[in-house]
């Protein structure tokens, strides 16, 4: 299993592999790996039992449930409605289509705090939308899901869109001419093509929602055990100069989202195999 650099060089036609790989590694190290390593290094000053004590504190545990749960729900909502939006944008022509297409990206560009304040105002009991409901939306987990859905929408639309674009109509026509009805075509022909993109979109929206702070903190209400998101717990620790405790919780978030992404990737791999891509 001895691979020498020389042999590799001979094998590739395009030059510059080692240079670009070196650059990629350096860049990733500085931008991604080092900051993440700092988090772990910071927590290392804790003893194991202290670490466990911090991360299993009832308030912290309640916040994981809320953060992961609402990010998951928001991801699911986005997959459903994001795919529909992508479908409409690709398959139909209507006036103002370009504008709607542009609107999808707005959550990307908007500062999250602005989004949070705007959503809170809308869904507050005296807000434009909130006043029509008998129950509270702002300051409840429902409000959190709304905020997380808002910021995650573009991820699904933008990953599903190009796949839909490239889907050839002939396949659909073939399935129709073989006697499939519209529903069968959708479930057996179109959706399988879209699953990988939908799952990618979901995982992007999910992981983005998980770490979201700015937009959620205004609408959440921040009540301990009820509507306190994990990023807020991290902030409260920092506010008390407890850097180590904050990074300990951050490590949990990091590991948790890593595991979640791993599971999602595994599902994607299974689906890919099932439909033989």
């Amino acid at each position: 299993m001895e691979f020498t650099l020389k042999r590799k060089k001979k094998n590739t036609i395009i030059p510059g592999f080692s240079l670009t790989l070196g650059y990629a590694m350096l860049y990733l190290s500085i931008i991604v790996l080092l900051p993440l390593a700092m988090i772990v290094v910071n927590t290392l000053s804790l003893s194991w039992s202290e670490f466990i004590g911090i991360i299993t504190h009832p308030r912290a545990v309640a916040s994981y449930k809320l953060s992961f749960g609402s990010a998951f729900i928001a991801g699911l909502i986005n997959v459903l409605f994001g795919t529909i939006i992508a479908w409409v944008l690709i398959r139909y022509d209507f006036p103002g289509k370009k504008i709607i297409d542009g609107l999808v990206d707005l959550p990307f560009a908007l500062p999250t705090a602005v989004a949070g304040i705007a959503l809170t105002t809308l869904y507050a009991p005296n807000g434009w939308i909130g006043q029509f409901f008998d129950f509270k939306i702002s300051y409840t987990p429902l409000g959190i899901v709304i905020a997380l859905t808002f910021i995650g929408l573009p991820f699904v639309v933008r990953t599903v869109q190009p796949i839909l674009q490239n889907l050839s109509r002939e396949v659909e026509e073939a399935s129709a001419s073989l006697g499939a009805n519209r529903f069968q075509t959708l479930v057996k022909v179109i959706l399988p093509e879209l699953y990988p993109a939908m799952i990618t979109g979901f995982s992007l929206a999910f992981s983005r929602a998980l770490g979201e702070y700015g937009s959620v903190v205004f609408i959440a209400g921040n009540m301990p055990m009820k509507t306190e998101i994990t990023p807020l717990i991290i902030m409260t620790k920092l506010e008390q100069y407890d850097y180590v405790g904050a990074t300990a919780i951050a490590v949990v978030m990091l590991v948790g989202s890593f595991v979640a992404l791993l599971i999602i990737n595994f599902i994607q791999w299974r689906i890919n195999r099932k439909f033989n891509y």
Partner: protein, 358 residues
């Protein structure tokens, strides 16, 4: 062998990177305040100290106060020494501001909400002496404030005092003591009231606090956030707030919508000021920084504080604004053994505030 070499190379690169980031950190920290530092250097050489810049790192509700005060001080300093002084202001949550000073923002003076936050700068970075609070009169707090209630016009729920807040069906708005300096004053004020009421019976005090906080509907992360929730979102029957913040809401949104209720007992909030010794010595701005903070105690400084709804220390000025500031019994944080002690028993992880939400 080859593997070893590669491993060595890998570690070499990593340590190089660490070095690079370390340098970068230093550079960026000096960069952040380079605006004043850089200009200082040039002015020192060419214009012989004709102008000087100060950075005042402060907390949220003092924005309006220092805007007015800085103008007055600049005029005063120009008249006295002929030197132009420009003061940059930085505002944010008190804890966050202290952290940015700890992390390297070169503040000449800090004017924060809690002595605890300045203590933390002194303890972790030794940027100033640990007994900084003795440097100026009145615990280095040129102005004080207290905690009052803001209720909706006509006081429909008839809220008069702290124990009304624990009643069923009252919705209370206050920020989270874990993230907001102001909220810690709120918490301690309520505690002090309960302590009087129950003669220091701790179990009963805790029950009182539990009842109060179970009426809290939204715990915002900062004092301004709570004000917005109460005033603009229309949530809650009562906002526990800084007195100056309550007056400001009244001024901004009109007295036909809200009323201030002064409880029978509250806490004497002493927002302290301090010179960041190491930084003024490095920049050579000690003289002007000292004059800046001293000027807060002058008649004019006290007047500006009173106009911005802070209680002045100066008796004469206080007398003049007597109608604005109601008399009430005020306890000090000393009753809780000082800020370090109060922080430990009440707000640190596992403290009494955490017990409330267990």
């Amino acid at each position: 062998m080859k593997k070893k070499k590669r491993l060595l190379l890998f570690f070499g690169i990593i340590s190089l990177l660490l070095l690079l980031t370390a340098c970068g950190k230093e550079e960026s920290s000096s960069n952040e305040s380079s605006n004043n530092a850089g200009e200082n250097k040039t002015t020192e050489t060419s214009e012989a100290k004709k102008t000087v810049e100060l950075l005042n790192v402060s907390y949220d509700p003092t924005r309006e106060l220092y805007e007015e005060f800085n103008k007055a001080f600049a005029a005063h300093w120009k008249e006295k020494t002929g030197q132009e002084v420009t003061i940059q202001q930085s505002h944010g949550g008190s804890g966050k501001q202290a952290r940015s000073v700890i992390d390297g923002i070169e503040a000449d003076v800090v004017t924060l909400a809690l002595a605890y936050d300045i203590d933390e700068i002194a303890l972790t970075r030794q940027l100033l002496n640990e007994d900084w609070q003795k440097e100026f009169e009145y615990n280095s707090s040129p102005y004080t404030s207290t905690i009052v209630f803001l209720v909706r016009k006509g006081n429909p729920k008839n809220i008069k005092d702290w124990d009304d807040l624990t009643k069923k069906g009252i919705s209370v708005i206050t920020p989270n003591p874990k993230t907001s300096g102001g909220a810690r004053w709120n918490y301690l004020a309520a505690w002090a009231f309960a302590s009087r009421k129950y003669n220091g019976d701790e179990a009963k005090i805790k029950q009182f606090m539990k009842d109060l906080y179970s009426n809290v509907e939204v715990l915002d992360s900062g004092a301004r956030g709570s004000t917005t929730t109460f005033v603009e979102r229309g949530i809650g029957d009562v906002l526990i707030a800084w007195e100056n913040e309550a007056f400001l809401s009244l001024k901004e949104f009109g007295e036909d919508e809200f009323e201030i209720v002064t409880p029978s007992l509250s806490i004497l909030a002493e927002p302290p000021v301090a010179i960041v010794d190491k930084i003024v010595d490095k920049k050579g701005t000690r003289e002007v920084a000292e004059a800046y903070l001293k000027y807060l105690y002058s008649d004019e400084g006290q007047e500006i504080a009173a106009k911005n709804f802070y209680r002045p220390r100066n008796e004469k000025v206080l007398e003049k604004y007597k109608d604005q500031f109601k008399d009430l019994e005020l306890v000090t944080v000393e009753e809780f053994g000082g800020w370090q002690e109060a922080q430990k028993t009440h707000f640190a992880d596992g403290g009494t505030f955490d017990e409330i939400y267990q």
